[in-house]
Symmetry: C3
Subunit: 425 residues, 3 copies
């Protein structure tokens, strides 16, 4: 009964065309060309490595796409249980006419060829988006991205600020900033001017958000006076290992937030990642986390910027209750999707239950795909819709006597409506 | 099947008359007079504010009750998903003949008038309690409450000690203590004597518990010698920002616990709240928490006072497993209900499962309402009963083959029986 | 439907004969002789004590077995809800023809006598294992165990290293090491040689794993040079309260891990226990935990020993997501069962969902019994199988369209196959 109800709700929600509010799509090459692009997603390389395949076999220099796929397929026998591999199988079924339930050493090659043919069709990008029910896609652009040569209506720019905040001591980053803005960041004033130029450029190109991922130890506070910071400029901004390096990162983060206020951009905070915990891991398969983190670390920030909306993603599932509670109290905190290690149905369903039950309905962004290639929009949103439909069915229709239409309205708001109102698209 | 079974169990449990072991009821004005009293509950004002309404519109000085309700009703369109608003709708349906499923700008006014008429009936307090199935209610009294002018059988006094422990450095608190006891608290001996007088007064008035809410950082230990503390009396007891202020708070807390032992009062510990995290929030809508807290912080206390029962409530859902485990090991630890940010069905159900499966059945207090006005007893206990019934159905009747009567006996013990044995009522 | 499906899967999984990869069985007395051996399990004594029985009644010196059981049965009226007491009832039903659903003061004595008769049969050990569907059992041997006088094929030795790492400052431990190896551990070189002898001995006797339980504060790092450590040998290795004691523990732990690499033994890490939190508790009923722990504390270790497999158990349920995520990234991390305070269905089911959805299927050890007496293998694995079958039914057969046979294959791999491949048995 409740299972059928959930399926019915899910089918209705699938008819809604979506805006994907956070991805890593390259707008100059948004879709895949071969299965190697698809299976090169870090989920498959890192899981293959974790299950026993040496990194050297996966990342062998000069490996041709087809051999790479063959090697990764070898590992799938250990990985078919994972939800990540279910995304792969589902997208192959959806887009490439694959009709087995496992990709194996027996059937991969015909799939490879058939999918390559499909992806080589000139309108594959459009076909894929249409079939996926997605019409607009937020990017995550480097701060020095020229933002030219693509349709910024379809691919909405978003200013990613990790490099500025956490790698400013790296001379290459400062050079990129100078090149992008014409300003040498040799004082707090110059840094502020340069960042202002970036905001000018990004908002003129249609940017709708600023974003950053943050380590569990980060806890921003109002910075000291510019004069004070300038007096220790070298140790605060130029030396990675200096004890004052945190002051520089804090100043840049705070300054970016000030510009978010000025330019009315929401600031996506993605809280909790420790980078390079496993430095011998495959590309993008090295980061993990420490569950000992609290949103109380953002108390100063949230109070100082009531006019900035902070869509917050948390990496540790243990943080979800804080996210729910801070969103229920702070007008400027919004729950933002299910990120990375929390992006599996077991946690999505628990977290969705709490959010739907306790956060104002206009403050919940249900989901983003976080994808690098367009083909993943479909299976990832599909996974989320199933979880969402189950919670709507059990907790609202069955549990609270809502009509199916009331539940669907709520589902649609969480899936799309709030993306429109919160990011102003 | 299991859904019908849960409903059947819930209906049976609803027949049981309850004792509510923790509320903030004012016994001189226990029931509401208008919908403004009901919707003035911080859950509605803080959620309205969080969803976008300026604090100034909600807390405008001199606002008449009807206009206040109209304004809050405006926000309900963003809040109807929350379990807190479901309490509101359910109590209006139960008590005021409301038969819509949403309170809107179209229907609120007639509800306002009809409910005001009902609440103006001279026996409304009795009617409300009777319909709610609640016969006795624990209060949370200020330490200087005279405890006169109300029926202490129906409204059981309980000594709230937050002010003494955490605001003793505030001269107004010390003056209140002097006024209440005739003792000037100018030494550790005098403080102890004054607190002893409070215990005399409270227990003579029928108090059945002592209570306190505690920040995540608190970790009580046996205090140093009185002489030592007296030698630094000023910094420990009189200066809020002194580095020794924690010594004073610790001494007073420990002394209170000693009196709980002497007077055989259970000491309700409500662990984990950070006050004024969002100081610009509405009244009572400013507190949040830090999930990084552990019951290991109470190791010294729990070992030092085996003769004191500690009903423990935790604010962070992450603390529930510790609460279950500490209750399973320590004879003097009892699980106490589902508090505040953990008081939503998603968390109640998870937490109830673990408690029912692993804590001795005589050591679980299922629920308290924490209410400020009597009308909330019904919908809050109703929410809990549904969760409890679902867990009894799935984990005990279906999962372990218990008879329905065995499951109901367990449910009744958790709902009422343990309140009687633990608090001696 | 899904309930019947889960039952069907569970019945099939029950046909599989198991290897139990972690127990505290004494191979010289593996089975119980009376119900006092069974009810002497710390779960029953600690829960009886927690529910109100004085320790002195439970641990009275010279108490005869039958009186001890009678006393513990008195407490069961408060404990029949606990999953631990359900193990007791189920094993009595399975092995001793008990056909009531509660053990009471009315029926315990005939059960006692009937079970004693059964357990006195000369082949009770074999009968019990056969009925339980378990054929091999890992032990947890003291480092100075001679490992003689028992069938090491059935009872697989495992080197427990807690004493070496955490009690080396205790002279009795060092004397045991000298006696076992003929080496006086008076320098880092001698310690290393002695530990090497233990590994020789254990692996020659068929040991398949090394194991240790670790406090939440532990965070191993590569030790300093031997010369450096030798220069502060006294404070690092001989003085329990010295500030350098951690250096000694760290050195021994790291050295043991080096030998795990050399001897190709998996190293079971059981992370998170605080010992003697309630020192007045009954025997083995004194330990608890602090949920504030992270696997990031093991970053150095996991990176330094890619060739060592670490089956990791976590005590705090809050740690499960980290365990899932670290297993998904690190090739040498394997999820290991559901330990102690996390070993209740409420948490097993949540944790199993996340593991089955996100960890490579060849890296999950589903369960170990952790038992002290053989009779507990049946009910504990039975509890786990029910949880596992429910997750396979809901998340894989219903949720992802797997065939029942595919789900059962996965279940069998998690229950047994991975024990074989990971420990090489």
């Amino acid at each position: 009964m409740s299972e059928q109800l959930a399926t019915r709700l899910c089918n209705e929600l699938t008819k809604l065309t979506l805006i994907d509010p956070h991805t890593h799509i390259n707008p100059h090459a948004p879709a895949s060309k071969t299965l190697a692009d698809i299976m090169g997603y870090h989920y498959y390389t890192e899981l293959a490595h974790s299950s026993g395949m040496p990194k050297s076999r996966i990342e062998e220099p000069g490996l041709d796409p087809k051999t790479k796929v063959e090697r990764l397929v070898e590992s799938l026998v250990h990985l078919d249980n994972t939800i990540q591999v279910s995304w792969l199988v589902e997208l192959c079924q959806k887009f490439f006419g694959f009709d087995d339930d496992r990709i194996t050493l027996e059937n991969w090659e015909s799939l490879y060829d058939r999918s390559a043919a499909k992806m080589s069709e000139p309108d594959w990008e459009d076909q894929c988006l249409k079939q996926s029910g997605i019409e607009r896609i937020f990017l995550t652009n480097d701060f020095d991205d020229p933002l030219t040569g693509f349709d910024t209506h379809r691919y909405v720019p978003c200013l990613r600020t990790d490099d500025l905040v956490f790698h400013f001591t790296n001379p290459a980053v400062r050079e990129r900033l100078t090149r992008a803005t014409g300003i040498e960041p040799t004082s707090t004033t110059a840094i502020r001017q340069a960042i202002g130029k970036l905001f000018d450029h990004f908002t003129q190109s249609g940017a709708r958000a600023c974003a950053i991922s943050l380590p569990p130890s980060f806890s921003p506070v109002a910075p000291g006076s510019p004069a004070e910071l300038d007096s220790q400029f070298r140790s605060a901004f130029l030396e990675a290992d200096s004890p004052s390096a945190g002051l520089g990162a804090n100043f840049i983060f705070w300054t970016i937030t000030e510009f978010c206020a000025e330019y009315k951009l929401p600031f996506d905070l993605m809280i909790g990642v420790n980078r390079r915990v496993y430095p011998s891991g495959v590309f993008q398969g090295q980061d993990l986390f420490d569950q000992r983190v609290s949103l109380i670390q953002y108390k100063s920030l949230l109070n100082a910027f009531p006019q900035v909306t902070f869509p917050i993603s948390v990496l540790a599932q243990a943080s979800n209750q804080e996210l729910v509670s801070y969103s229920w109290i702070f007008p400027n905190v919004v729950t933002n999707a299910h990120w990375w290690y929390s992006n599996i149905p077991a946690y999505i369903e628990l977290d969705t239950k709490a959010r739907l039950q306790a956060v104002p309905r206009n403050k919940q962004i249900g989901y983003y795909s976080d994808m690098y290639k367009l083909e993943f929009g479909w299976p990832k949103f599909s996974m989320y819709r199933k979880c969402l439909a189950r919670v709507l069915a059990s907790d609202f229709v069955v549990g609270r006597g809502w009509s199916e239409e009331q539940a669907l309205d709520f589902g649609r708001q969480v899936l799309r409506g709030n993306v429109e109102t919160i990011f102003g698209v």
